[in-house]
Symmetry: C2
């Protein structure tokens, strides 16, 4: 991938850059995701090879960090890759959603992955209990959780297949671990290529090469201006990146929306995921003429590997649109992206950058994921938050448990 940045580098921050490098190297000793490109996938490969060919559906019971990553990758690749199995996600307690998903799978041809880091996620266990009432065969379920969680202990008692999250890997940073890799491997996604893409970015970053330069530039700019440009939009010009945007929203919002470590002030960078050209007809007006509180990152796919083009048909009264004739759709969508960017650059007060992803394949997605994880860590350091926790959601969980206990009385 390449990343062109159209805003100015901050001056005189050589020392600050050194400090940030040091802080990240220190984080790397304890924060697990940094080393996931080196994740040993042999046990995943071995497990995938043992799963019966009659299994046609891989069904993830999981929510948030347990589902968003695998979904982003699966939905990115689906239009170009014949998947070995279909992947579904039960990630809600909405009864209509559960019923609608149930109508899409065949229970007897499904293998279920129960994914919960804590092992006690209310949504996941509720749906797991429901599934157990339909299918009691524990051989059809596999657990992914933290070692010694209640779910781990339950699985051990029942002799179930169990995988563990690596040490110190949080849910939203877990896609390149078993959490994301196992469901994807079962569907035939080339997980080694995925990791290899991530490794490329890892190398470039830790060897002080190209990616470190652009990531530092962006991170310092976002942090310096975080109280002005505190909404960060991704404008991705392909429908294949729709669920990647959702993954990004969780990563960015839940990591950077915090009380600052030293001041305890509420800070935050608000992520928004947009898809072009559709959202040119929805959100672009707000970016162009609205409050100057947004930065924008356009993501383009360099090669869609298709040959769909607009036929050379002239329509009477619509001759002004003959300029489209003969054009390939992938050229059109990338020209739409370029045109929107140019119109914004003229305004001079909206920070823009552009990421070009080579292809719709595993390696490209691995690069993009690791790039955004690093960017999140860098900005988190600079705005002085704990990037890896989420204390703000605990109170709601306690209130819910109290309400549930009341109902049982």
């Amino acid at each position: 991938m390449t990343n062109k940045i159209y805003f100015e580098d901050l001056p005189n921050i050589k020392e600050a850059k050194k400090n940030l490098s040091k802080a990240i190297m220190k984080e790397k000793e304890s924060v697990g995701y940094y080393n996931l490109p080196q994740f040993d996938v042999s046990s995943i490969d071995e497990f995938a090879s043992r799963i019966d060919d009659k299994i046609e559906f891989i069904v993830v019971l999981g929510i948030g960090g347990s589902s968003l990553g695998a979904k982003a990758i699966y939905e990115f690749l689906k239009p170009v890759k014949e998947m070995k199995r279909k992947l579904y996600f039960f990630e809600s307690t909405d009864p209509l959603n559960i019923l609608s998903l149930l109508s899409k799978i065949e229970i007897k041809k499904s293998h279920f992955l129960v994914i919960s880091k804590s092992g006690t996620t209310v949504e996941t266990i509720a749906v797991f209990k429901y599934m157990l009432s339909i299918n009691k065969n524990m051989g059809h379920y596999t657990i992914i959780t933290d070692l010694d969680s209640p779910l781990d202990k339950f699985g051990k008692l029942k002799g179930m297949n169990i995988f563990y999250l690596p040490c110190n890997v949080g849910g939203r940073f877990s896609v390149l671990s078993t959490v994301g890799l196992l469901p994807l491997a079962l569907c035939g996604v080339d997980i080694k290529e995925l990791l290899s893409g991530a490794k490329k970015i890892q190398n470039s970053f830790f060897e002080d090469a190209y990616i470190k330069d652009v990531l530092f530039k962006k991170a310092f700019f976002y942090a310096k201006h975080h109280s002005t440009y505190h909404i960060n939009c991704i404008f991705a010009y392909s429908e294949t990146l729709k669920y990647f945007c959702q993954w990004y929203v969780q990563l960015w919002g839940e990591s950077l929306g915090k009380k600052q470590r030293h001041s305890a002030f509420n800070v935050g960078l608000t992520p928004i995921g947009l898809i072009g050209p559709k959202d040119q007809h929805s959100f672009l007006q707000l970016i162009v003429e609205g409050t100057r509180d947004k930065s924008m990152t356009c993501i383009k796919i360099d090669d869609f590997k298709d040959e769909l083009s607009i036929p050379d048909i002239s329509l009477e009264e619509l001759e002004s649109l003959d300029i489209l004739n003969g054009l390939e759709f992938h050229d059109l969508i990338n020209m739409q992206c370029d045109s929107a960017m140019e119109s914004l650059k003229i305004l001079k007060d909206i920070p823009i950058d552009e990421i070009i992803v080579p292809r719709v394949d595993e390696r490209s997605m691995g690069e993009l994921i690791y790039y955004y994880e690093l960017l999140t860590s860098l900005v988190g350091q600079l705005i002085d938050v704990d990037t890896y926790n989420q204390p703000g959601v605990e109170l709601g969980k306690i209130i819910l448990k109290n309400k549930l206990s009341e109902v049982r009385k």
Copy 2:
């Protein structure tokens, strides 16, 4: 629907309220959407009755205001309603998306609706040309556009079926006109009930009853604090409202992100659509601990009309979650909403309100749509913008046409 507001009314604004009422009454004389609950659907009914029963797919070629409204309603009702036909939307120039949608429809069993207010929307005409290269039978296409647009003139020359947008109805306010009603009617949606829901809100508002009171309270609060709480989140507790959120994002963002009429300052309210409980595991942390720049509207569905419940299964080591046993899923999801709201109310500096939608049906959706359209108009008046135009996106369109002309040389 009911709407409970958990923030304070502004004091001493009796005069301002009178002025706003006057301004809206004046708008109502020229802005077309206000009167859409009275839209005459006889020509739509008549057309729908003539469409061959062999047609199984209704295919919309349209983008933005031409697709988002019908999609929101169709996807809301789909889990509870047996649709007469399937509805698909070609709303992108992404070649992979076009190919993937083509694989889902049968051309011979499809009727195509080419929807473009201007009649020259690049995305729509590009895909229309592509469809014409596969299916040349003009009887299989119907046009919805403005009278005398280039597309209208083309359709007349070819003797095609043509419907018009009512006078002075902009794309993003057009869902309760032919633009939304025709595709929905062809799929068996009860469009009269939809309008009847909208009429209920219309009456309550223009007869100075309940809805006017809550809408005024919210509009004045949002406008007064628009430079502080300038991000407005909908947190909808049902997957059925996913595309409603996208419709809301267009309505709110494109209407209110503007240069002010008198000052020419850039203002804007940024819409974000979230789905619970999923986004409790993604975005909620940012709301709870991040910058105090967000208001939040929770939307709950009162009666899901289902009986799916969590079975009374106790899992060893997971006994703490036996509190879920026997609970209906729709009670659980609404308790999750209540718990999240309570945890936010404790903070006291996040403006919250709660909308309760009676059921997943046409009438409820009609209410919700008209409610949000009115709210948008009210806030637009108060922050002094032209709610109904979108001048900011024009430059990008001109740049694109220049680029396309260059390619042709």
